[in-house]
Symmetry: C2
C-alpha cells in the first residue's frame, strides 16, 4: 500500500548544520532509530553532531547503506547547489534518497534522470503515496493510542515515540504510526495526513492503522488540535480514522497563545479532553483518556514537578513530561 517506505540502513546527511535545532530531523532519527543508521555525513564546517560514525557516501555504500536521508531543512527552502553532486553520488552508489523538504526531489529533473538511470527511488515523504480510500468507520481488531494536542508543536511526536520505545522495552507488541514528515523519516514509513485530500483523511488513517492482533498497540502520532482554527479538520479526520481506544493529551505547560495564531488562546485541558472524547466516541465508543504529557521545558525542575502533580490531581490520570520523567507511568496504566 505504501510506496514511501525507507529501506534501512540509512546514511544520515547533516549538511553544514551549525546546531542540533537545524539538524533536528537527523537528530531524531539517530535518537529514536539508531539501529537503522549506519553513519552520518557532514559537510566541512558543520557543527552539529548527531553521534553516529562519520562516513562518506562511498564508505556508507560499501558498509551496506540503502537510503541517504536528508536530515535537515536548508535555509530558504530550496536545495543548495552544492548538495547536488552528493545526491547524484548517493544514487549512483545504489542508495535511495529520502527527504521531508518542501521542495520535492521528484521535481528536480536532473535528479529524476539519475534516479531513473540507476533504478533508485527519490522518496518525498511529504507526498502521500497511498491508496486514497474513504473511511468506513467499521471496527477492527487491535488497540490504538493517539496523541492529541492543545496546539501544534507541543510534543505529540516525541511522546508517542517514547511510549512506543517503553512498550518495546517491556515486550509489548506495538508499532509506531507516523503521520508527519519527520515521524515518517524516523520510522521509515507512514502517511503525511495533512497532505491527504480532505475526503480521504479518515480512510487513509484506517489503512495506516489496520486490523491487528487483539493485544497489538498502534501508537499513533497526532497532528494539530481540534482547537486549531486552521488544522482542526486534519485532527478530527485523524481521530475518527484512528478509532482510538486511548488518547493522550499533549500540552506545553505555560503556553498561553496558540503558535502563530493571533487571538487564539491555548484551550483549557479539560475542554480538550472532553471534546476529543466526545468526538472520538463516534467511531469508538470505548475511547478513554490514558494520560497527559506536559512539555515543561520552560519551567525549572521544582516548578515542573509541581505542575505535573497539580495536573495529575486535577484529572486523576498519569501525567508525565516525556523528557523529564519518562512515560513509564502512562504505560503502567495501559497495562492494567
Amino acid at each position: 500500500m505504501n510506496h514511501n517506505e525507507l529501506k534501512a540502513p540509512y546514511l544520515v546527511f547533516v549538511g553544514d548544520a551549525q546546531d542540533l535545532l537545524t539538524a533536528k530531523v537527523a537528530r531524531g532519527i539517530a535518537h529514536w532509530r539508531p539501529e537503522k543508521c549506519i553513519g552520518q555525513m557532514r559537510l566541512p564546517g558543520a557543527k552539529a553532531d548527531i553521534g553516529l560514525t562519520e562516513m562518506t557516501v562511498r564508505e556508507a555504500a560499501a558498509a551496506g547503506a540503502r537510503t541517504f536521508v536528508l536530515g535537515l531543512a536548508p535555509v530558504g527552502g530550496t536545495l543548495p547547489a552544492e548538495w547536488m553532486p552528493i545526491l547524484v553520488e548517493a544514487l549512483e552508489a545504489g542508495m535511495d534518497i529520502a527527504s521531508g523538504l518542501h521542495v520535492r526531489l521528484n521535481g528536480i529533473q536532473d535528479l529524476v534522470q539519475v534516479a531513473q538511470r540507476t533504478g533508485r527511488r527519490l522518496i518525498d515523504v511529504r507526498e502521500p503515496r497511498v491508496e486514497m480510500v474513504c473511511g468506513t468507520g467499521l471496527p477492527r481488531a487491535g488497540k490504538r493510542l493517539l496523541a492529541v494536542g492543545t496546539d501544534c508543536c507541543v510534543g505529540k511526536m516525541f511522546t508517542t515515540l517514547a511510549i512506543h520505545r517503553e512498550m518495546q522495552k517491556r515486550g509489548i507488541d506495538a508499532t509506531f504510526r507516523a503521520t508527519g514528515q519527520t515521524g515518517i523519516l524516523i520510522e521509515g514509513s507512514g502517511v503525511p495526513v495533512d497532505a491527504v485530500v480532505s475526503d480521504f483523511i479518515a480512510g487513509v488513517v484506517e489503512q495506516l492503522t489496520p486490523a491487528n492482533s487483539p493485544d497489538h498497540w498502534d501508537i499513533i502520532e497526532g497532528q494539530g488540535s481540534l482547537f486549531h482554527p486552521a488544522y482542526a479538520g486534519v485532527s478530527l479526520g485523524l481521530l475518527h480514522g484512528a478509532q482510538a481506544d486511548v488518547i493522550l493529551v499533549c500540552h506545553e505547560a505555560g503556553r498561553e497563545q496558540m503558535d502563530e495564531m493571533e487571538g487564539y488562546p491555548v484551550p483549557d485541558l479539560a475542554d480538550v479532553i472532553e471534546t476529543n472524547l466526545k468526538l472520538g466516541a463516534l467511531t469508538n465508543r470505548n475511547i478513554r483518556l490514558g494520560g497527559i504529557a506536559l512539555n515543561t521545558s520552560a519551567l525549572v525542575e521544582d516548578a515542573a514537578l509541581a505542575e505535573i502533580a497539580r495536573v495529575q490531581a486535577r484529572f486523576g490520570v498519569p501525567v508525565v513530561d516525556p523528557v523529564r520523567t519518562g512515560v513509564a507511568a502512562i504505560v503502567d496504566a495501559l497495562e492494567v
Copy 2:
C-alpha cells in the same frame, strides 16, 4: 484566485438521459440559474427535459453561448465515445466545457489538444483551482450562513440555494458560495472543498468567503456532517473557515441510518446543533442557530407538517421544508 469560473450563458447538455434524476445537474442549473442558460442540448432518445430551448451546438454558439456544461453523469463513469465529436464541436464553436464528472476532461488527450488549439478551457469543477493557503482564523466583515447536516445528502445545497434566492427576492445583498461540484456548476464558481488537501480546508474556505460589506450575506453550501465517520474532517474545516454567524441544520425526516455507513445511526438533532455551535464558536463566538431545514419528502403532507411543527416546538427556531413550505420563515428571522 479561482480559475474555474464558468462564463455564462451556458448550453446545458442533457445527453440521452432517460429521467430527471440522471439529469439532476442539468435540472439544477436550469432551475436555479435560468438566467445563465441559453438552451439545452439533448441526444436522440433522451427523455429528460429541463425546460430550456432546444439547441444544437451551432445554434447555441450563434446565440452567444460561452460554456457547454455537462449536466449529467454518464453510466459507468467514463466519457461515452459518442460525446467526443460534440465536445470537439463545442470547443471549435468557441465554448469552454465544464464538467463535474469523476473522469477528468483534462486527462483526455484528444480534448486537451483541441482546447489548446482553440484557446478554450476544459473546466473540471472537481479539481480545486485555487491558491492553497492555511487558515488564519482572523475575523472579517460581512455575515455568513452555513448549512450543516445530520448526514450527507440531506438537502444542504438545495436549502442554501433557496435561502439565497429568497434573499435576492427581498433585495438582501447575498452571494451563494458553492462547495461541491454540482453547486459549482449551478453558481458558476466555488471550490470543491472535499478535494482540497486537508491542511488547507479552512484557509480555502476563508478565501471563498472573503471580507465583505457588513450587511452582505455569504450563503455557504455545507458538506458532510460532523457525525460522519469518513467526512467529519471536511465538515469541521468548512465550519471553522466559514466563521459562520448562523448555521442551518439540515436533516431528512425519518432517516435513521447514515447513508452507506453501516452501524452509524443518524445523530439526534439536539446533538448536531450543540456540537456545531460549540466547535464553530472557536472561530466565531457569536455563532447561532438560524433554523432547521427538514427534508420531509418521505412523508405525506399531514405527517410532514406535524413533524415540522414538532421540531419547531422542540427547538424554538424556524423549521421549514424548503420544497414543501419554502424558506421564508428562516429569512424572516434573519432579518430581525
